[in-house]
Symmetry: C2
Subunit: 225 residues, 2 copies
């Protein structure tokens, strides 16, 4: 039974990868940069998306696919911030998004009218790592109140990410976050990913993130903003 | 294949429940209060356990079963704080603890020498909810920086918990946490669970939590500390 279980999980993941490849084709054909945003609940996924929409207002058309167990709070937030379009996925109970959910969301999103799509995954530092959605970039956010030891405890997401954001930098002096420990443990897992320190509340560090994202839009899609 | 998958998951959960019942028998026979501690990464699970160990020093013998994807940072922390015993479980990649992992941990824990056992689950606001471990109490911690909207987005854990701790109260004024929204959304899911507001950093609210826990030790096990 254990073997059967492993086989079935493998089958499901293979099916997911095939759908993810199709989603990726859709994004690439439309010249859209798709970013899979992964983090713990409350790390600041929506705040970073909202801030990015505001900073790129009039320059980039940003769509959002919102993944939540329940509710549509974040979809309302990103639309209020100026998202060009947004689709809510309620997973019901599932702790992560899967490629088939993105495929369904894409039926309700006109990619030809968008430049960047953020896929906000369910808040979870573990499970989303294993499910490709068709994104070109995996973004991991860690907030300073969560603590510097998280890369040691949850290594897979930090290892798999293309870019890492350390958020809530305005709180760093209040929460005992040890930057040296954090950087050493991330770099033991992932040498390549750039790390952006920022605070959506104060705006500190946001410009560097925006510049990098705009550069990636050109590098990945060959089409500048 | 979908049906087969559902059946298999049900079988696994049934097997888990049987093992959880056996674990619970072990705890109850030994007169130990077992608490399953669930929260997002970095919400303050270890901090609350450490604070509780310190506050009950000389009064209660506390054991800890630490669940992490990787590492043994928290086991070292709770032992340094004065835990009577601690066992580390590394799940390898699993996003939650299961009853069979607790069964194995119990082989390495002398329950007759303990009063309370905290089982610190993997940091995750979703998956641990579905897996009984044999605990008598389910404790959910939310930290103020995570935001007041989490009960709406992650309703299952808040609905299933016997007690809820709102942690990092020292940061509440800095992070825009709306208490009214939080209480209303929790109470829509769960009328019974007491909610303790506290800060392990400042000590604010900790005494009330300790008093309640000591009371539960007597109520659940019939044996006072």
């Amino acid at each position: 039974m254990a073997v059967e279980q492993v086989k079935m999980v493998k089958n499901i993941l293979t099916g997911n990868d095939e759908l993810a490849a199709r989603n990726r084709d859709c994004f690439e054909t439309a010249g859209v940069l798709a970013v899979n945003v992964m983090a713990s609940p409350g790390a600041g996924k929506t705040s970073l998306i909202v801030k990015t929409i505001e900073e790129l207002s009039g320059r980039a058309r940003i769509g959002v696919i919102e993944g939540d167990i329940a509710g549509r709070i974040d979809t309302e937030k990103v639309l209020a911030a100026g998202a060009a379009d947004a689709v809510q996925i309620n997973t019901g109970g599932s702790c992560h998004l899967e490629a088939n959910m993105i495929q369904q969301a894409l039926n309700n999103l006109d990619l030809s009218a968008l430049d960047i799509v953020f896929v906000e995954n369910v808040g979870n530092l573990v499970c989303p790592t294993h499910w490709a959605l068709g994104e070109q970039l995996k973004l991991c956010i860690l907030s300073t109140p969560e603590g510097h030891d998280k890369p040691v405890k949850y290594p897979e997401l930090f290892a798999a990410s293309d870019v890492i954001v350390l958020s809530k930098m305005d709180l760093i002096d209040l929460v005992g976050f040890e930057s040296d420990f954090f950087y050493e443990s991330v770099r033991a897992l992932n040498q390549a990913a750039p790390i952006f320190e920022l605070s959506c509340r104060t705006g500190q560090g946001v410009a560097r993130w925006i510049d990098w994202l705009v550069g990636m839009k050109t590098a990945v899609n060959g089409s500048a903003l």
